[in-house]
């Protein structure tokens, strides 16, 4: 298929641009939390998660018109998460680093749970996050998309650039691995 031209938003007529901007605003408002959550769980700290989220939306804005045309009405969340996913991969490659804060010790475990949950469930949460941190990148990312973002297999497949079947297997194996490793800790 010939590559479609990417139309810069500024090159559209005013009416089309206004419509595009409104649609982007909706996308931003709807998925800011998704992109930020994904970024946070990938990089493990608030500062870099903010940078990553900002860059993801800037890049999304540049390519939004084309993405809409090519989506054929399908949700754009997987496309957005794929942008964040690629940026996060570059982030590690360019700086040759892993998350500065591991998932095991990342703030949200404390911040996102009430006092009662911390007191009663913190150890279990730490344990599962520690094991999650040790999974391969693709398994960990698939679980973040499933559980933090609530994405279904098809969405995750599109975000990771895999088939639906391969994604289903990936998630199944990731959960099974966690189950076994946590069982070994008992």
């Amino acid at each position: 298929m010939p590559e479609k031209e990417n139309v810069e938003p500024s090159s559209l007529d005013p009416e089309a641009k206004a419509e595009l901007d409104r649609a982007f605003e909706d996308l931003y408002r709807t998925h800011l939390r998704d992109v930020y959550s994904y970024a946070y769980y990938r990089v493990g700290n608030q500062h870099d998660a903010e940078d990553l989220t900002e860059q993801a939306f800037l890049q999304a804005y540049r390519h939004f018109d084309r993405a809409r045309r090519e989506s054929d009405g399908r949700p754009l969340r997987p496309w957005l998460i794929r942008i964040a996913h690629n940026l996060a991969s570059n982030y590690y490659r360019d700086r040759s680093r892993r998350p500065q804060t591991s998932l095991e010790t990342a703030d949200p475990i404390v911040a996102r749970h009430g006092t009662e949950a911390i007191a009663e469930g913190r150890e279990e949460l730490r344990q599962v996050m520690a094991h999650l941190d040790r999974l391969s990148d693709d398994r960990r990312e698939a679980l973040i998309m499933r559980f933090a973002l609530g994405m279904d297999n098809r969405e995750i497949a599109r975000a990771l650039g895999r088939s639906d079947g391969a994604t289903k297997v990936l998630i199944h194996r990731a959960i099974k691995q966690l189950q076994e490793e946590m069982g070994d800790d008992e």
Binding site: S10, D21, L32, R33, L58, G121, E124, V128, L143
Partner: protein, 115 residues
């Protein structure tokens, strides 16, 4: 909350339950929309200055040369940068709505804290 409810059932961990508990969505900081707006505005300004400086530098001969599409690279690059930044107007609206919704968010938080 018992262990069974939280994720340990019988002799095995309910990993999916624990993951749901551990990997909750995280609310972005409120300042993020403002930051996004500032970045877009900065790119817009840079692109506008680039175009302005470039236009002021032009001599008559350069203006004539501009009729040749082969010389359109520089303004197009600057306009491209401005294109991404043109969303600043979008984000102005986002910030306005964000402030309005923040009140709802705080109210919601207060409701959750309330015993």
């Amino acid at each position: 909350m018992s262990e069974a409810n939280r994720g340990f059932a019988g002799s095995s961990w309910n990993v999916e339950h624990l993951l749901s508990d551990a990997l909750r969505p995280i609310e972005p900081p409120e300042r993020l929309s403002g930051r996004f707006e500032d970045t877009l505005a900065a790119v817009t300004q840079a692109a506008a200055e680039e175009l302005s400086d470039w236009a002021e530098e032009l001599s008559e001969s350069e203006l004539r040369a501009l009729r040749d599409p082969r010389n359109w690279v520089r303004p197009v690059v600057a306009m491209g940068a401005g294109g991404a930044a043109a969303g600043a107007l979008v984000v102005l609206e986002l910030r306005r709505r964000g402030r309005r919704e923040a009140k709802v968010g705080l109210r919601s938080l207060a409701d959750r804290i309330r015993p």
